[in-house]
Symmetry: C2
Subunit: 190 residues, 2 copies
Amino acid sequence: MTTIENPTRNGVDTATLFATIDAVKNNTDIAKFQFRATNKWISGTHNQSTIHGFFGAMQEMEHQQGWTFNADHPAVLVGTDNGPTPVEYLLHALAACLTAGIANVAAARGVNLTEVESTVEGDIDLVGILGLATEAQPARNGYEQIRVSFKLRGDTPENLRKVVEQSRSRSAVYDVLTNGTPVHIDIDAG
Amino acid sequence: MTTIENPTRNGVDTATLFATIDAVKNNTDIAKFQFRATNKWISGTHNQSTIHGFFGAMQEMEHQQGWTFNADHPAVLVGTDNGPTPVEYLLHALAACLTAGIANVAAARGVNLTEVESTVEGDIDLVGILGLATEAQPARNGYEQIRVSFKLRGDTPENLRKVVEQSRSRSAVYDVLTNGTPVHIDIDAG
């Protein structure tokens, strides 16, 4: 049994968090999730994704609402700038995943947070995607490197650093971005 | 010199696309980009990223506007459902990148598009991030597998399939998600 002094800390309902972990221990099928997005091409590099339903806890579920996100290229990359580029969404996903993990880990450990901010930068040499990489100037298609800078306040520097490290070691997005995931593509071309 | 029958196809300004490629051939420094996102923790698993400025074409640039995106966990994952989960944004980024590439490649090849839709699914076993993976039930933190299903119309099935394949082979997000990227984390813990 876990002793809980403060059932809500840093906005995390720790009682429910521990109860969820206990429930998964008893039936790990609860933890098998499938997330989804649907995308529709608008024009040129502008397209839109919708995120609403998912599978989890052994049933079809839905978020409280559906969300639609635009993606596009800026004018300098021959787009119409109706939304961020797809690669910018990766940086948001990484910051969001590490930050949610920081909040959960801190709450579970009784570490206080008053401020968590981060900046994520990704370096990319577009000669890769433009098909202009050469032996003299090799380039991959994706980011060469991503850097995350966190600023945290609310507890001792040592406690805060350990929380970030534990969040990193349990982050789904960090794992996918650093280790990769198999991607399969099916095509219905009429 | 590239002969262009139709300078705009599928909403892509092909004349500017080819001119951009020629410009990069002459000075590859133009192609060195840095994208950025800043994130702020709100409460619990809810946080917000802003995307606005970036570096490219040898100068600091900005999108026409800044965009803010919420991320959160749904109630079943002990969050407040104020936005998609971070891992759902990865699926959006993948669909958006492949679709933008499809539009560009099709335009460059004179292939017509009338419809491009996709669904992306990602399978994840949350025993990984919950720290409950065992030897008997191993699980990574991130997606085990991602599947993209495209529906395309507007040209011959063969042409459409080749366009998707070329987009995949030049997609920045596909590259990062399948091959991984080094991620460095700095911490300012007061």
